[in-house]
Amino acid sequence: MFYEDVKLKRGDTVYGLGKEYGYKGTEWHKIWDDPKNAPLVKKRGQPEHLQVADIVFFPIPWKTVTRNLCAETRGAAFLVQRDGEPGKRMSWVQTVYQDNQPVKGTTKFCVDGCPADDNLPFYWTDGEVASPPKWIQDFSGDKKVKLSKTFGDKPSRNPPKAGQDTTKWRAIVSIAVVTDKRVTVYDSWVWGFDLTVAGKSTKVGPRAADPSEVAGHLHLLSIGLGTSADNFGKQGWTFRKPPA
């Protein structure tokens, strides 16, 4: 669990922001009553008395609860789901190492989707969040799947050509908490597949990313490209581990 510090803007409420960070509306008191917010509660008394620029700490207890990885004919399929409620400020990020088979027009390392399907660093586009594609409904087995709670991917490749090494496709996927252009990344999982020249696919992982892998993941997110020429870092996005 960690705290997402949020400087209030006009119109923000603990109730409304709580819903955006994955709480039920009725759970606003879990935020208000958290000891981390005690000085603010003492100062303002009631949530209705909060003022612009006050800082509220939102406890983020959500964690991945489903991590199903299967080998497929030419790749792998990975489904990840977290607990908590959906929320507009809860998302997913994934960085990918495409080894010896990068998708044409992309580099070995990239921020998924690669090539970019929008100019945001998140895995799902806003359109997909609003209306989940059929494939992820089918994959998750939930026609009403909420993509702020669910990650799914089914990467594939042709077998490497004779003379090439085994394709070692790897990715790191994380839960992302989004406050303006600051993205806090946690609960990171390494997964992927090996695909031999003979066409045999073997799943790799999932396992928790180690600190050096998380550091690389954060760096890739910063230098990753969306649909504009400037990388996400230059566009003002920042990526961090949860504050201690």
Partner: protein
């Protein structure tokens, strides 16, 4: 005099059959939803990450209201987990893959179920 037109008709029909269907190879309802409708032949399924890519050969432009001039060979995306461009020749209904790169296109609805008709 009556024999010659009949031979010409048979020849024309044979020629049309060899080239594959033309006007009949398009679903007008789907075509109305997109800027681009093409007749293509699959070269290769490439795979991909969040999306999979199919390399195709352009057989014929049925409708192109985009500014992009499609080359003889190009790639079409579809959602991973969905069927893509089928083997052989088919009609594809394309929507832009993203908002900036005019060379990247995706099957309507991200799937052959909505973005492909008239496989041949």
């Amino acid at each position: 005099m009556r024999f010659i037109p009949l031979v010409m008709m048979i020849a024309a029909a044979g020629c049309a059959a060899q080239q594959g269907p033309k006007e009949g190879a398009m679903d007008s309802q789907r075509a109305s939803k997109v800027a681009v409708v093409l007749r293509v032949r699959l070269i290769e399924h490439e795979g991909g990450n969040k999306y999979e890519w199919d390399t195709v050969h352009l057989v014929r432009v049925i409708k192109n209201e985009s500014k992009h001039k499609f080359p003889d060979q190009f790639r079409i995306a579809h959602d991973n987990g969905e069927a893509g461009v089928p083997e052989g020749e088919s009609t594809v209904y394309l929507e832009p893959f993203n908002e900036t790169d005019e060379s990247l296109w995706k099957l309507l609805g991200g799937s052959a179920a909505t973005g492909v008709s008239h496989p041949h």
